[in-house]
């Protein structure tokens, strides 16, 4: 099992669970998520709304409200216990070690600061140096993300940029302090198709050049196919399948992944109905006792309602949580 230092995981997430506790109910947003990320690897968390993918990401960045979110499990990044970080160490960790790109750049950027002020603040906080040096670095970063005439755009306010340029500016901000791990939460979902592909190709190139590990949250199978090395499919808060992107999209092991692939409109014949998954995802306040997909699953067995299936590894390098995948 020794693949050299490069194959040691950078990030190790073990049994991560996030519950949101209110007076009325407890929402089990993420349950028992376990995955590893190697240096330079791109993992896509794939799932529909409410599947827990964004909450997982926010837990890694320690962005969840401490009072209301009950976090359990272990997150280790480069040997450090992420969930135990406090105070100054946590502030350096955010932005310095881990950086995040959000879905909507207009709401994630502060409207009263210029792009340059955003960048320079982050650079000086994490790397120090004079204003002039930070400004020079900021222009380099804008150039890196292919913003045309960066010397001029550095003094622009977020509202003065188009959606595509704003998202590029946000990427520059995330990259400004050379993070080891980049977290991207649906960064291209709000963009038009012709702009989305530009940003995806840019992110793929930057990720390769800078050798960053990346976790990419998306609901779009096409985006995953375009950028991921591995995918983890989430359903109702749990990772139900994980493996290399090509294998998972070509030969899914879990019935939900197969259903998601079949129900995504993509070159189906207009004469036939799309193979939709019946029903809707379960209420995260009242999860069924067994497999949470069982009520919608065409292949469900009586055993599926008894308990949530354990992770199994029917093929090398691939994980699935489904009773069906076990040898009967």
């Amino acid at each position: 099992m020794d693949g050299g230092i490069a194959s040691l995981p950078l990030l190790h997430v073990d049994g991560l669970s996030v519950d949101f506790v209110t007076r009325e109910a407890t929402v089990h947003a993420v349950s028992d998520a376990t995955f590893n990320l190697k240096p330079g690897e791109v993992l896509c968390l794939l799932g529909e709304s409410g599947s827990g993918k964004s909450v997982t990401l926010r837990a890694l960045m320690r962005l969840l409200p401490e009072k209301r979110a009950r976090i359990a499990g272990k997150v280790t990044l480069g040997g450090r216990d992420v969930l135990a970080l406090q105070g100054n160490a946590l502030r350096s960790f955010r932005g310095g070690t881990v950086a995040m790109i959000f879905q909507e750049p207009m709401t994630a950027l502060d409207p009263v600061y210029t792009i340059g002020q955003h960048l320079m603040e982050a650079i000086r906080r994490h790397k120090g140096g004079s204003r002039a040096e930070a400004r020079k670095r900021a222009i380099e970063l804008l150039d890196l993300v292919k913003i045309p005439s960066p010397e001029r755009r550095i003094d622009a306010y977020p509202h003065e940029l188009s959606g595509g340029l704003r998202q590029r500016a946000m990427i520059a901000l995330a990259l400004s302090c050379g993070p080891q791990l980049l977290l991207a939460d649906e960064p291209t979902t709000a963009l038009d198709a012709t702009v989305q592909i530009q940003v995806l190709v840019l992110l793929r190139r930057l990720q390769k050049e800078l050798g960053m590990s990346t976790i990419f949250v998306t609901h779009d199978l096409g985006v995953a196919a375009e950028i991921a090395d591995r995918v983890a499919v989430m359903y109702a808060g749990r990772i139900i399948e994980e493996g290399p992107v090509d294998d998972v999209l070509r030969a899914p092991l879990h019935p939900y992944t197969a259903g998601l692939l079949a129900s995504t409109v993509h070159d189906q014949s207009p004469d036939q109905d799309i193979a939709a998954i019946p029903g809707s995802p379960p209420d995260l306040r009242r999860l069924p006792p067994g497999c949470s997909f069982a009520p919608r699953c065409a292949k469900a067995l009586p055993a599926c309602n008894d308990g949530f299936p354990h992770p199994t590894y029917p093929v090398a390098d691939r994980m699935v949580r489904c009773w069906r995948a076990l040898p009967l």
Binding site: E48, S49, P148, S162, G163, G164, L165, D192, A193, T194, V195, Q196, I197, Q198, L200, V201, R204, H219, D220, L221, G222, V223, A225, E226, A228, V245, D246, L249, G259, L260, L261, S263, T264, V265, H266, D267, Q268, P270, D273, I274, A275, A276, I277, P278, S280
Partner: protein
């Protein structure tokens, strides 16, 4: 006699012109919006001279990026936004003309489903009342409207006893969109405008709603105008496709032809921007650079020329015409390369 004679074709008394007469003819429709604070006389040319024909029983897909005017077009068609100029003819009758069809009557026959399924329902009304509301204000009795609402909820796959008394916040996104479809159908429309009606739904739910829309169209003899930014969905559901760019039509034709032999460079770029769902066929180079330009003061001549790899002098000097189309099979594109007489160096090569 054979049994076939007993099957009567579906006859709608409101169908006056017969199946050959188009459901809707749109001629040179314009709607501009003045914008403050963007320079003197700044106007957004949201819909700028759009003409097309919608035939009875077809689904016409409208695609384009944000800001291209597709939602304004939908609103202008129903006079939710008044057009500046242009002509609308619904089944042979000019809309809002003295001897034509009134806007109120048009809105009875043409219904609309919006993208945001929550904000388009009254949060203080149980969904069965929302669905019954349209028939009720149009002269049906309360009990009759209630009964009709129950029938229609069944048609869209919601059990009236279970879902009828619920409020919108008690429903999932897919269920809410089914209620919106039911509400549109309660008016027994002949045509439905679907403005990004499935865009906010998760993929597995989107597939359910698309299947439902197709089934309803078959059983209720409907005509759809289907607006979406998702090319895969448009390809799947449409008979014909209209591609918009900055307020204008750049290509119009049968879906199979537009998707297999796109003629306009913008349509080609849109198609080239689709993600493949196959990790072995990744896009190496994006087909276009930059964002769509602002619809305020768009470029002269061909509006796509600033992003077009084939732009030449003629594209700046002259706005290309969409060309004549005569029927369901016509495939036209507003590009100088399509016109051998335009003077473009690549003209007539296609």
């Amino acid at each position: 006699m054979s049994a076939a004679l007993d099957i009567k074709p579906y006859v709608d008394v409101r169908d006056r012109g017969g199946s050959a007469q188009p459901m809707l003819i749109v001629r040179d429709l314009k709607r501009h919006f003045r914008v403050k604070g963007a320079g003197k006389g700044a106007v957004v040319r949201a819909v700028d001279g759009i003409s097309f024909t919608l035939f009875k029983g077809e689904t016409l897909g409208v695609v384009g990026e944000s800001g291209c005017g597709k939602s304004t077009l939908a609103r202008v068609l129903l006079h939710l936004v008044e057009p500046d100029s242009g002509e609308l003819v619904f089944d042979g009758d000019a809309v809002a003309a003295p001897d034509g069809i009134s806007v109120a009557e048009l809105r009875r026959q043409v219904q609309m489903v919006f993208q945001d399924s929550y904000s388009s329902l009254n949060p203080r009304m149980p969904v069965q009342d929302s669905v019954a509301f349209g028939p009720m204000v149009n002269g049906r009795s309360k009990s009759e409207s209630r009964r009709l609402a129950q029938e229609i909820l069944i048609k869209v796959g919601l059990r009236p006893d279970l879902f009828g008394p619920r409020y919108p916040h008690e429903l999932s996104g897919g269920q809410k969109q089914r209620v919106n479809i039911a509400r549109a159908l309660a008016m027994n429309p002949r045509m439905v405008i679907l403005d990004e009606a499935v865009s906010a739904l998760d993929k597995s739910v989107e597939a359910q709603v698309l299947n439902l829309l197709r089934e309803l169209k078959r059983t209720l003899n409907l005509t759809y105008l289907f607006i979406s930014h998702d090319l895969n969905v448009v390809r799947y559901i449409s008979d014909r496709v209209l591609v918009m760019y900055l307020g204008q039509v750049v290509e119009l034709g049968p879906a199979s032809l537009v998707f297999s032999e796109a003629r306009h460079p913008y349509t080609q770029a849109l198609l080239g921007s689709r993600l493949s769902m196959d990790a072995r066929q990744r896009v190496d180079a994006p087909p276009l650079v930059g964002d769509p330009p602002s619809p305020i003061n768009p470029p002269s001549g061909c509006r796509f020329r600033t992003r077009c790899p084939n732009a030449e002098g003629v594209c700046e000097a002259k706005m290309p015409e969409l060309g004549a189309w005569d029927g369901r099979d016509s495939h036209v594109a507003a590009c100088h390369m399509q016109d051998p007489a335009s003077g473009h160096s690549k003209a007539g090569l296609h």
